[in-house]
């Protein structure tokens, strides 16, 4: 239908207009990495007897002996061919490292997002329905509490309590208990792959494993989501069409869900997109704390080691995801709000 065509066209346009931004990110990262005072060659030629020649050799291998513009052109050429270079830390092509690790990060982020939305939307709606009551204040306070603890502290505390003290949670060492067999990789998302494989025990194990890190992250992003839900709900509850809905005798439930919430969800959608992208970048701390084999901790290690290729690859990946997320939000927004497609 024309609505669908419209959406596709908009999506296409968005994609095209975001290409310059991606290119900008690419070049900026490239330059930023070269500005770093660390020389990866020195770092990696760290055998106790490595000589200046070894260092020079590694530099040659990495192409660091060429002038910067040449390096950039070569880099862009490589990217164009889908080659993101090779990580010195893992010795693997960056592309395969990222492919290996991205699902872990995405799965964690999605899980956290679902948890956060699942808690924030009802809380926000509830707070809006009882605006300025004790409940409203309590919700606000509770959500704010989540944002004001650094994730690494809440993560370590959760581990301390649920794993170390009480032994309820599985050991915080990655995505799956090491003694549980892995499902065959289809999507890379364990929770999905286990379902595909029909292995419910495995699914439960993976679920238990992801719970603590996901909660840690969800706590951190619940506040903006709940706050936005509350504000949007307040606005839409106060709007004329909700009054109209009341005046034709609809039930409270219908008024709140079909009329008020359905409209309030639009700004929540926008903020969810923003939250999602920030989470992807900021989950490095959670990944570290929970030994989560994701892309962010990978990038951090690479950054500290001045390992250029992984950091560049990571940033490019994140930027693309950012573009993609924006696109998805846009498309969802377009589907949720019929007014958007006109223009």
């Amino acid at each position: 239908m024309s609505g669908l065509g419209h959406t596709a066209k908009r999506a296409g346009q968005r994609l095209v207009t975001s290409l310059p931004a991606l290119f900008g990110v690419l070049v900026f990262t490239f330059v930023l990495m070269r500005v770093l005072p660390g020389d990866p060659a020195v770092f990696f030629a760290s055998g106790p007897n490595s000589s200046q020649e070894d260092i020079e050799m590694i530099r040659r291998q990495m192409g660091l002996d060429k002038p910067l513009p040449t390096q950039l052109v070569l880099y862009l050429y490589d990217i164009g061919r889908g080659n993101l270079g090779r990580s010195l830390i893992t010795g693997q092509p960056v592309l395969s490292d990222l492919r290996e690790r991205l699902p872990a990060s995405l799965e964690l982020t999605f899980a956290a997002l679902i948890l956060a939305l699942g808690a924030a939307i009802p809380l926000g709606v509830f707070a809006a329905l009882r605006a300025n009551s004790l409940i409203d204040h309590a919700v606000r306070f509770f959500c704010s509490l989540g944002v004001c603890v650094p994730t690494f502290v809440s993560g370590l505390l959760l581990i301390y309590a649920f794993y170390y003290l009480w032994g309820i949670a599985p050991d915080p060492t990655g995505r799956i208990d090491i003694f549980t067999s892995q499902p065959t990789r289809v999507t890379g998302f364990l929770l999905i792959d286990y379902l595909i494989a029909g292995d419910l025990d495995g699914w439960a194990a993976a679920f238990r494993q992801i719970l603590l890190p996901a909660i840690t992250m969800a706590l951190f992003v619940m506040a903006p989501l709940a706050r936005m839900t509350r504000a949007a709900m307040l606005a839409s509850l106060g709007s004329d069409f909700v009054r109209t809905a009341r005046s034709i005798g609809l039930s409270d439930w219908r008024v709140i869900v079909v009329y008020a919430l359905r409209n309030a969800i639009l700004p929540v959608l926008t903020i969810t997109g923003i939250v999602f992208s920030t989470m992807l970048g900021a989950n490095v701390l959670v990944e570290k704390v929970f030994s989560w084999p994701g892309v962010a901790s990978y990038a951090l290690d690479a950054l500290l080691a001045s390992d250029y290729a992984p950091v560049q690859g990571f940033v490019l990946l994140m930027a693309s995801i950012f573009v993609l997320v924006n696109l998805v939000v846009d498309v969802l927004y377009g589907m949720a709000d019929p007014r958007v497609t006109v223009e």
Partner: protein, 515 residues
């Protein structure tokens, strides 16, 4: 249950860094990768072990055969002949032959890898030195008798590779199959790789044919799980809750706390082939003045740092008394006759013409922050008392190595390790030449000459005398200040036996068993 069964036969080992390659010679390989390679590959020879203060440590002087059934050094010291075991097989079942050994050692001295620079220190530089006598006899020729030639073959790098297999994976650009070997093994070691995720985890399965353990036994554990857990506190939790069987590289506090609880076995060995220093760049003023260096040597609050940063876990290298200002021993390192003495420090500072002190920066790297941060704070505080203003600079590891390599840091802390910790090895590698490892950038002709001479000195007494002289010079010149040998704390389940402190500062899984 089956699970309990497998758990009991499995060794779970958690580390801070991850294993990044299966080929230990790859530039950038981590220590964890070294440790794994010891179990997947055999070498010609390996170090024995000895007890030191009731703890097992590796023994540099007892070299035993691994793939070699026996070896023989010619009287002139220029030829080493190895007789290979006839029963040794690679993982694919093919026998280990002298051809494989030759290809492997050729690879070690030829390919661009970490091995080349290491084997150099044992006068092993060219494929010409390696000769196949017959399928089970192999000969190494040396240009000069070298004490370190044989020990070098026991280090991590000279792995013996299934040459047929490797060659079949080699390409024109990559004649030594280095790419392939990053992710695959072609060895004869005690374990084979089951799964390997770079930087994350590796699972190894026992090679049932391998019987080269003590008394011709197999390795004890059927499986080993190696996992990287970046948070040190979490590693401590894991071993305390019994989810991990053995852990090293804990924070000193955690090790101390676990030891105090008494539920687990804690074996602490000073890393006697490693030293932590406070270094100066002897070329950058004011550290080009020995009196300044000495002033600082007497202004460092050694005891406080040792207690607060290391929780007393390690072997101090300060606070000795040397009878007549001469080094009492010729080994390296030995405790230095320095202690906190601000009055003396001020005298030296005055002698250097800087009674009011100066300003400088003190650097350390992020990876070392756990101990270096409190150290830096205490040094800053103490030097402040004699008028030296210190700014603390914490640098990411790569930056720190770069700055050290470019000789830009005036004042910093670093640690060194020698796999083959003989006195001359330390002096030659860490006090000579314009190389990165000469932290202090010292360039003293006499010291250089003496250290080079010591390398080939066969006479034990003369060697000892040279060592004493070098140690005395070291104290006189004070190019850098040794602080201590940190302790390696291995925390393990009470039923784990056989832990040995190894030169590579990792756990050799083949040593371990459980009651």
């Amino acid at each position: 249950s089956a699970f309990a069964q497998t758990r009991a036969e499995t060794l779970r080992y958690v580390t801070g860094a991850g294993i990044n390659t299966l080929d230990p010679t790859m530039p950038g390989s981590t220590r964890e990768a070294f440790a794994l390679s010891l179990s997947t590959y055999d070498r010609l020879v390996s170090f024995g072990r000895k007890q030191l203060n009731g703890k097992w440590v590796f023994d540099l002087d007892a070299i035993r055969g691994e793939l070699a059934e026996s070896y023989e050094v010619s009287p002139d010291g220029l030829k080493i002949t190895f007789k290979l075991r006839k029963d040794a097989k690679f993982h694919d079942g093919s026998p280990v032959t002298a051809e494989d050994v030759k290809w492997s050692l050729d690879r070690a001295v030829t390919a661009n890898s970490l091995a080349k620079a290491q084997l150099l220190t044992g006068s092993l530089t060219s494929p010409d030195q390696f000769k196949v006598i017959d399928p089970y006899t192999f000969e190494v020729t040396l240009p000069k008798p070298d004490k370190l030639a044989l020990p070098n073959l026991a280090t991590v790098y000279p792995i013996i590779i299934n040459s047929k297999l490797a060659k079949s994976k080699a390409t024109a650009e990559d004649p030594w199959a280095q790419q392939w070997m990053k992710e695959n093994t072609a060895g004869s070691g005690a374990y084979t790789i089951e799964t390997f995720k770079a930087g994350e985890q590796a699972i190894a399965k026992r090679n049932e044919d391998w019987k080269r353990g003590p008394n011709g036994q197999q390795a004890h554990f059927k499986r080993i799980i190696l996992q990287s857990v970046p948070e040190a506190a979490t590693r401590a939790n894991l071993v305390e809750r019994g989810d991990a069987d053995i852990v090293i590289d804990l924070q000193p506090t955690d090790a101390a706390a676990l030891e105090a609880k008494g539920k687990l076995k804690v074996i602490s060995t000073p890393q006697y082939n490693a030293i932590t220093f406070v270094s100066f760049n002897n070329k950058i003023p004011p550290f080009d003045n020995p009196n300044v260096r000495k002033a600082i040597a007497y202004a460092i609050p050694y005891e406080d740092i040792f207690k607060a940063a290391l929780f007393g876990r390690g072997a101090p290298l300060y606070g000795a008394t040397w009878a007549d200002g001469k080094a009492p021993a010729g080994t390296f390192p030995i405790p230095q006759p320095v202690k906190l003495d601000l009055a003396k420090a001020k005298e030296y500072l005055a002698a250097a013409g800087m009674p009011d002190g100066f300003s400088t920066t003190f650097s350390f790297n992020v990876g070392q922050a756990g101990t270096a941060e409190p150290m830096a704070a205490l040094i800053k505080e103490s030097l402040g008392k004699i008028g030296i203003k210190v700014e603390i600079q914490k640098m990411p590891d790569a930056q720190m190595s770069t700055a050290i390599n470019e000789k830009k840091l005036p004042f910093f802390t670093e640690g060194i390790v020698a796999w083959l910790p003989s006195m001359d090895y330390f002096y030659r590698n860490f006090y000579i030449g314009a190389i990165r490892w000469n932290y202090s950038s010292i360039d003293d002709p006499k010291l250089t000459e003496l250290a080079q001479a010591a390398r080939f000195e066969p006479d034990k007494t003369k060697y000892e005398a040279m060592g004493r002289e070098l140690n005395t010079m070291h104290f006189e010149l004070m190019p850098q200040i040794p602080l201590w040998q940190p302790s390696q704390d291995a925390v393990m389940a009470p039923n784990i036996e056989g832990y040995t402190y190894q030169f590579h500062r990792q756990v050799d899984y083949r040593d371990l068993s459980c009651k």
